[in-house]
Structures are given as C-alpha cells and as structure tokens.
C-alpha cells in the first residue's frame, strides 16, 4: 500500500491541529465535557476522516460508506470537531456543544446528527454494535468496513468481551477495533483501578489479530491500519498508545483532565500552545 507523502502527512497534522483547537473552543463554550480523551484521539480521528475512511460528508447515509463507531461517547468533542472540519457541518456549530437544542449532544445521539452511526456513552457497547454491522455487511456481500474506537477503561465491561468472542467466531475481517490506550480512567490508572495487562495477549487469546502503534504518529497509525485491513479471516485491533490531553502541556498525562473542560484562561493558554505547534508544522511545509 502507498505510504503517506511528507506533504500529505503535514496536511493531516494541520487538520489534527485544527481538530484540537476545535475541541478546546467547543469545550470552553460548553462549560463541561471531557478534555483529556478528546485531545488524545485527535490524530486518530483526523487520520480516519481525512485519509483512511470511505465516506462523503455531503452524503452521510452513503450506503457503501465505512462505518466509524465511537464507543466511548464521552470523547464526542473530537468526533464533532473532526466531522466539522471534514465538512459534515459548519465549524461554528461546534460552539453549540452541550447547549439546549444542539445537535451536538453531550454524548453522541445518532438520530440527532447524521453521520454518527450509533448513540453512545454507556461504555462497552460500541464493539457489539460494530460486530452486528460488520456481520450485516458480510451477509450482504458488501465491502464497507467497520471501525470502532474504544477507550481502554471500557474494556472492563463484560459486553465488550462478548463482542470480541462473537467477532472472532464470525471471522469478521471487515472489523477493526481501535483502542485509545492512554492507561487512564476516571479514578486513576487503568492498572490500579482494574488491570488490563497483558492487554494485547487478551486479544490474541480471543483470536484477534493484534497491532500496536504510537497513537500520535499519524503516519505510523495510517500504516498500521492499512496492514490491519489486509488481514483475512480475523477481526483486528489496533492498540494505539496515547497520552491523555496530548497537545496541551498542562493536561498531558493528568487524569484529572478526564472529565472537565478548560476555563477561559486555560483555554487561551491551550490555544496559544496549539497555535505555536501549528506554526512549526507550517514551517516544515515551507
């Protein structure tokens, strides 16, 4: 498969920067919401929406579109921002996040905003629904793929493992689970709250093909997903190693930023940092 050209990579990095700025602005406007996980999945959502997926922002119901499910619905701001910059709706609408009457509900609601695929928030349910969709595609002989973005913490839910068994039973090689492995959940480290390691081995034991990569290296993530797509007869997991709050120095790796938005001065600092990062990317382009 083709690797990203340096130019294409820089374009994606600029999109990811836009997405992070969109997250900060929308969370500031909302006054509540989840900063850490939203920021740490910005690179991956950018890669999916701007490079990897077959989709049409002007036709969200395109029958042959790839399906992207966000299982951990609380990081909706990253999906909303990526969708807005991809052209699903005006970027200004991000400022309605969590407000009365908005399409951008605190946790994503499929019937509210075209393109969401599922309603999510209650954890551990995304892979189960993605398994159903992937099986439907197999029954119909359709070639679209299913991507399910999950948090690491939600792997503590039993339903997720029911889905893992089922996807392997039906050899759903059109299904890729992407794990935001930031090792952080609300009450602290996943390994303190309820240890997940040996994480990759668990997937292997459930007959999944396992890939791991740096979730902030867009080129590596794209390459990893392209390799996952070539797997036959098995579902695949991409364990993306991430840093919660990535891109905003004072949030990075701090679990206290799981579930709160930046205040005005904090948002201003975050946007200054992201602006500086953007200049560096653009300098690289020139």
């Amino acid at each position: 498969m083709d690797s990203l050209t340096p130019e294409a990579l820089r374009e994606l990095e600029l999109h990811a920067n836009d997405v992070r700025q969109g997250i900060i602005r929308s969370l500031l406007a909302a006054g509540s919401g989840h900063s850490g996980g939203s920021l740490d999945m910005a690179d991956i959502f950018t890669a999916l929406y701007f490079h990897l997926m077959r989709h049409d922002p002007k036709n969200p119901e395109l029958p042959e579109r790839d399906r992207l499910l966000l299982s951990c619905g609380h990081i909706a701001p990253v999906r909303y921002a990526a969708m807005a910059y991809a052209g699903y709706f005006p970027v200004e609408e991000l400022l309605t996040l969590r407000h009365f009457g908005t399409r951008l509900q605190g946790h994503p609601e499929r019937v509210s905003l075209p393109g969401l695929e599922t309603t999510s928030g209650p954890l551990g349910e995304g892979l189960a629904q993605g398994t159903g969709m992937a099986l439907a595609a197999k029954i119909d002989g359709a070639d679209w793929r299913v991507y399910v973005v999950t948090s690491d913490g939600e792997h503590q839910c039993g339903l997720h493992w029911e889905a893992m068994m089922t996807a392997a039973k039906f050899k759903l090689d059109n299904l890729t689970c992407i794990v935001d492995r930031n090792v952080i959940q609300i009450d602290g480290s996943t390994e303190d709250v309820m240890p997940l390691e040996p994480f990759a081995d668990k997937y292997r034991a459930f007959n999944w093909e396992v890939f791991e990569c740096d979730g902030h290296d867009i080129a590596a993530f794209v390459d990893t997903v392209e390799r996952a797509k070539r797997v036959k007869g098995k579902p695949q997991v991409v364990i993306a190693h991430t840093v919660m709050g990535k891109g905003v120095s004072y949030m990075e790796g701090d679990y206290l930023w799981h579930g709160k938005p930046p205040k005005k001065d904090e948002a201003a600092l975050a946007l200054r940092e992201l602006g500086a990062a953007r200049e560096l990317i653009e300098a690289g382009r020139r």
């Binding site: 399906r67 609601e109 499929r110 019937v111 695929e117 599922t118 309603t119 999510s120 928030g121 209650p122 349910e125 189960a128 629904q129 993605g130 398994t131 159903g132 969709m133 992937a134 099986l135 439907a136 595609a137 029954i139 119909d140 039993g158 339903l159 029911e162 889905a163 068994m165 089922t166 039973k169 039906f170």
Partner: protein, 339 residues
Amino acid sequence: MSATAEGAAGAMHLVDYTDAAAVAQVPTRNGFGEGLIEAGRRDDAVVAICADLSESTRMEGFKKAFPTRYIEIGVAEQMLVAMAAGLAAAGKVPFIASYAMFNPGRSWEQVRTTMALNQTNVKIAGAHAGVSVGPDGATHQAIEDIAIMRVIPKMTVVVPCDSAQTKQATLALAAHWGPAYLRFARAESAVVTTGATPFELGVAQTFREGGDVAIVACGILVYNALIAADELAKDGIECRVVNNHTIKPMDEPAIVAAARDCGAVVTVEEHQVHGGMGSRVAEILAAQHPAPIEFIGVHDRFGQSGTPQELTEEYGMGVASIAAAVRRALTRKRARNAR
C-alpha cells in the same frame, strides 16, 4: 354463552371457548416460531439471533429454513441486543430470542440506549415469561418485564393472548418499523383466537360484551378471564372482556370506553401488579375516567417452583380469583353509585 357474549365472540372469530374439548392447548411460543418463519419468507431482511435457546424459544424452525440468516451467539444477552442494533442499523430486521428474564431482563440498558434512544428496528422475543414457566422457579420467571419495557420511550410492547395471536403479532411486528418487545410463554395454553381474528397493533379487542364490569386482560390469562365472565353470567353479572394485547402504545379509547360503559374494571396479567399492564390502565383511567379497579397479577412477590396450574392459583390468577375480583369491583361500583 349469552347472546351479547356470542355476538362479540362471533365478530372476533373466536373458537367456542366454553367447550373445553374444542379448545386446543398450544404454547404461545409455538406461534412465535411459526410467525418468525413466515416473516422470514416475506422479508429477506429478517434475521434471527439466539442466545443458546433455539429449541425452547422456537427459533429452530427459522434456523432450518434460513440457516444463513440465523445467528447463534451463545449465552450473551447484552450482546444479543447491542449486536442486533448494529444489524438493524445496516438494514436488517433482527428478532432476538432468549428467556424474558434475561432478554430484556439482563439487557435493559442496552435496550434503552442501542434500541430505543438509538431508534433501531430490533424485535425482542421474550420467551418463558410469567410464573407459568413452572418448575424452573423464581430465577426464570419474568414478572417484571412489562414494567421495564413499557417505561422506555418509543418501545412497542405486545403480549398476545394465545398461540394463533402470537403468530399474528410476530408478523405485525416484523412489518412495523421500530423497537419492540414481544412477550410469550412456555406452557400450553388455550387457543381462543383463529387466523380469521382481526389483529392490529395498538387496537384492543372486545372478546365478550357486557355492561357490569370490564375485565381488561392480556396474555394467556385472557382465557381465564373469559371463563370467569361466563361463570359470572350464570349469576347475572355480565362482563365485557377486553384482550388488551398491546401494552404500549395502549388503546386508550378502548380502555376509557370500557370504564365508562361498565363503571368498574378488573385488570388481569401474569406480571407484577406494580408497573405492568394494569398500572397503565390505572394511569389512563385516573387521568380520563376514574373508576374502581381491581388488579389481578402477582402482588409484590417472587415466583417459585410448581406446575403452571398450581402457580396460577397460588398467585391469585385463576378463574375463581378473577370472578371474586369482579364481584369486589361491582360492590365498589355500586357503593360509589349509591353515594
């Protein structure tokens, strides 16, 4: 059977339920199995997902007829719902089957989020509902399922009265777009309807005319209600018997008309009296036409092992209990009218 009673029964194309020898005894689950196969013939999009209970939920016929559209996922009832929501989102019409105690008993949040809030076209088939499951005991006797399903917005909840009607209801739900719960039972029970009995979701059926007390029933206890009405008629008490098969959306005009015409109501269901069909009747009447109501059902207890007949009697859902409730309702109505 009185002339008025016969008139209603005739219009509904019922069998002569007063002749015990003429009444077939068939489990309502058989009607589900037959209806599912027919639904599969009518629509290629119909798929069946089962949680390791294909024989007892009667999905095995569909499995034989449409092996590529039958999905076995093992003992995983939360998966049953969420996976079906995914299949439905991709255009399938999934029926999902297990015992009602687990489906929807174990999967309530998945039902609420992935089926109802998410508005997916999934049909829950809850088998072995009620205490009439019998010897398996309380762990397997779902008597809270109507309550937990009817409280969810956008759900359709259907409890057909016999095997023939369960087949009709299965076909009606397959053709009706939206999340739904179909409840049926394990034990053999009287078949009072026929293929000619008109059936429409959300439209209650008057199986017997009468003006003294209205018995509003659902599920396999409709038969007991009809027999109780017949016995009461010998004492000059004429009951209207309403087969209230659709719990949600309930046929409010039919309920209000029954209360208005008869002045007192007895509700009959194989379920907790708290939160079930009778509670919905009470909500409607409290708002629109207050009337004395007596509630037949399980009164805040769990089930236990026994035969279906023993348990029906133990929990006060037999013919004599229904007749006694009608007499209490009538007494209350007369006292109210005398004031």
